[in-house]
């Protein structure tokens, strides 16, 4: 017998396996596993990995979908970095990410803390607060948003009560992006649920001990809740910012497909879409897509690097 056969790992496995089922059985088990996975593997290779590799190639070509792609080296990238509309789309997207993500998480955390307390009908409240994140991404809500933020609609009238005469936000390049931010914040349900789960994990005795030592609610939040919640917070920050970088649907619908006015809602993916599908510059669009991938990867890397400084894992503290 081989060395592997005698290894303790194998011995353990062998005991758990059915009598008579040796290496062959395991191989068959593996085969079954792959077979069950095959639709997903095929889907991933054909619909995700394949197109991604193709688009990586297109990023270095001039390609209008009809004539064969022509190799242009780094031309798409140099044109892109000098393109004022590309720069504008980066600016709009960064603004969106930097404003929407923290506000959304803040609201999610606040509501999660309220909902973490036991009270009657808490399931109902949780469902009610979660609901917007189920429907918020839909096209119809985009239309509703457009209506809400127009002249003389709900938002305009409300701000007039406070003496602000700014008009509707939809037609105003200075405000329209904040209508999108509001739409994003409104969908705080998913991070809220994750925060809720995190809050449930914080040991009661920590609070009890702190209370006994005379710590008030603010102190308890800063010194117990926040550190204990930091892994969950990290997870939410990561997920929500990656998400925000890829915002498309809301900008497209709220701006009536034009990502305007005056390019004020020209988020990155919207410009990518215009370049690819309206102007048939698929090479340029692919270059944009890969630049976004790299940028998001960089942001993720920075977040991972920074977590050492602020994310508190319980194991490490012990």
């Amino acid at each position: 017998m081989t060395l592997v056969e005698e290894s303790p790992v194998h011995a353990v496995r062998k005991r758990s396996a059915a009598p008579g089922a040796g290496r062959r059985g395991r191989r068959q088990e593996n085969l079954a596993g792959y077979l069950f996975m095959s639709p997903w593997i095929a889907g991933f290779l054909l619909l995700t990995a394949g197109p991604m590799i193709a688009s990586l190639y297109y990023a270095f070509t001039s390609y209008n979908l009809f004539t064969p792609p022509k190799w242009v080296g780094l031309d798409n990238f140099t044109t892109m970095f000098q393109d004022p509309r590309w720069q504008k789309s980066v600016e709009v997207t960064l603004k969106y990410v930097v404003v929407a993500t923290p506000l959304k998480l803040l609201l999610a955390l606040g509501v999660a803390m309220l909902l973490a307390q036991r009270r009657r009908g808490q399931a109902l409240y949780r469902a009610a607060f979660y609901l917007p994140s189920l429907i918020g991404a839909s096209v119809s809500v985009g239309f509703v948003w457009r209506a809400l933020f127009s002249d003389d609609a709900v938002v305009d009238r409300t701000q007039k009560i406070f003496g602000i005469d700014a008009g509707g936000w939809i037609g105003n390049p200075d405000y329209v992006l904040y209508a999108l931010v509001a739409l994003s914040i409104w969908q705080f349900g998913a991070p809220m649920v994750i925060f809720l789960a995190g809050l449930k994990q914080v040991p009661r005795e920590l609070y009890e001990a702190a209370e006994m030592d005379g710590a008030g609610p603010v102190r308890r939040f800063w010194n117990i809740t926040l550190p204990m919640l930091s892994p969950v917070l990290f997870f939410n920050v990561l997920l929500e910012s990656i998400h925000a970088f890829q915002v498309f649907g809301s900008a497209y619908v709220v701006s009536d497909t034009r990502c305007g006015p005056a390019d004020a809602t020209l988020v990155y993916t919207c410009y990518l879409y215009q370049k690819g599908f309206k102007e048939s510059q698929m090479g340029f669009a692919s270059a944009m897509a890969w630049t976004l991938v790299v940028a998001v990867a960089l942001v993720t890397a920075v977040l991972f690097w920074s977590q050492k400084k602020w994310v508190h894992y319980e194991e490490a503290a012990k």
């Binding site: 059915a18 008579g20 089922a21 062959r24 059985g25 068959q28 088990e29 085969l31 079954a32 077979l35 069950f36 095959s38 639709p39 209008n64 979908l65 009809f66 004539t67 004022p84 127009s150 002249d151 008009g167 509707g168 939809i170 037609g171 105003n172 390049p173 009536d256 497909t257 034009r258 305007g260 006015p261 005056a262 390019d263 599908f277 309206k278 102007e279 048939s280 510059q281």
Partner: protein
């Protein structure tokens, strides 16, 4: 996980068999779409863009066609203008565009260059389609380099749509041959008396700027590029922005918010330039009365107008070129189909259909009277097929014009940007 290896194998085989069978099923289903039924009938896909009334009318004409040609089935596909061309591009690049589709002068060279359009002359020579009896020479609108790439269904021309009540209330009148100065003076009177803007944003409309250029012996497009200079455009946009600031042209923020409704029907302004066959929308959208008025001129006579066309084109790679040609022939010549369509896509292009449809409602009557008047004035020029990429330039013109209206881009910078984007579009 089953404990017994044999059972497992059997399970695997069964699962594998089931998925193979499933694949087989989808494969068969996949074939069902395009292939022809056993009875010798063929199916054509027909795609167009437009609003609900057009779709309802076209569906009626399709039913009529299928009755007359029982061996040909028509599968309709329709959407709005912008979505239409995005979808079309994707389908065409995959070698799967509709067999017959609505087309316009801005797309002929683009899709000819990409080999998508059938030269319908060959079908006409084969006797499957008649290219006779077209009115006012509009057949030429579908010709590029000696090929007939589209067959016009109608003829339309740019017009000024006015809020008739507002014009009457302000005591101003639109008359044939009026100049731009007179036009803007009229808008000023409207603004002074009625406290509404005169126009919704004329300087962002490429087809109007084209007319203005034609009044000066130029045109927006040459065969291969732009027919004007950066300075020309800077001037046009600078004048426009000046009029936004003075309130003569409506606040672009408000126009943006009412979109897709027009600023004219929303009561934000008293007039708007558009194609005459679009004028029907205002009655539906707005509360006032709307009418067609003449395009302002530079020299008191020439409006720079021409007859444009929506047309029908066929896919060069269609499996049924003969049937596609027969379908197009029916749609442009059949009197009953003309009666059903009316002037929705412009004044009917062929004499058979033109004679068959006698407009009774004020809208269609207005369009007919307007084009009559324009034709009689003898100002109609010729249009050349736009260069490939014209559609992208038109979109850029509208977008950059909007930025200028909002005060976000200086006219000179905007003109420079447009020339840059146009260069890329023509090269694409």
């Amino acid at each position: 996980m089953p404990e017994n290896g044999n059972v497992e194998r059997r399970t695997i085989l069964r699962v594998a068999g089931a998925s193979a069978a499933g694949l087989g099923l989808t494969a068969t289903a996949g074939c069902g779409g395009d292939s022809d039924a056993g009875d010798g009938s063929v199916t054509l896909r027909y795609a167009w863009w437009g609003g609900e009334p057009r779709t309802l009318a076209i569906k009626k004409t399709i039913a009529l066609f299928e009755k007359k040609y029982p061996k040909i089935r028509i599968k309709p596909e329709f959407t709005d203008y912008a979505a239409f061309w995005e979808k079309f591009q994707t389908q065409a690049s995959g070698g799967n565009p509709p067999d017959v589709f609505q087309n316009a002068v801005g797309f002929l060279r683009k899709y000819d260059k990409r080999g998508v359009l059938m030269d319908l002359k060959t079908q006409a020579d084969a006797g499957n389609l008649s290219l006779e009896n077209f009115r006012n020479g509009v057949l030429a609108n579908g010709q590029v380099d000696g090929k007939q790439l589209g067959v016009p269904v109608g003829a339309n021309t740019m017009a000024l749509v006015i809020d008739v009540k507002a014009f009457a209330k302000a005591g101003v009148e639109a008359k044939f041959g009026w100049t731009w100065d007179e036009y803007f003076a009229a808008l000023q009177t409207i603004q002074d008396k009625l406290r509404i803007a005169g126009d919704t944003g004329y300087f962002t409309i490429m087809y109007l700027y084209d007319l203005y250029l034609r009044q000066h012996g130029k045109a927006f497009f040459t065969d291969t590029g732009l027919g004007f200079t950066e300075d020309d455009l800077t001037q046009w946009w600078a004048d426009g922005y000046k009029r936004v600031k003075s309130g003569l042209v409506a606040d672009p923020k408000k126009i943006e918010q009412v979109s897709p409704k027009s600023g004219l029907s929303a009561g934000l302004a008293a007039s708007e330039f558009t194609w005459d066959n679009f004028s029907i929308r205002y009655e539906g959208e707005g509360e006032s009365d709307y009418g067609l008025a003449p395009i302002p001129t530079t020299n008191g006579k020439d409006t720079g107008q021409y007859l444009g066309s929506l047309m029908l084109s066929a896919f060069s790679g269609t499996k049924h070129p003969k049937e596609a040609a027969q379908f197009i022939g029916f749609m442009v010549h059949d009197p009953e189909a003309g009666r059903i369509m009316g002037y929705d896509r412009g004044i009917l292009a062929t004499t058979e259909q033109y004679d068959a449809f006698k407009p009774t409602d004020p809208n269609n009557k207005g369009v007919a009277a307007y084009e009559d008047e324009v034709a009689k004035a003898g100002v109609l020029g010729k249009i050349t097929p736009h260069p490939s990429g014209a559609d992208v330039v038109e979109a850029a013109f509208l977008r950059i014009g909007g930025e200028i209206a909002q005060g976000r881009t200086k006219p000179a910078d905007g003109a420079k940007a447009l020339f840059g984007e146009a260069e890329a579009a023509f090269a694409g």
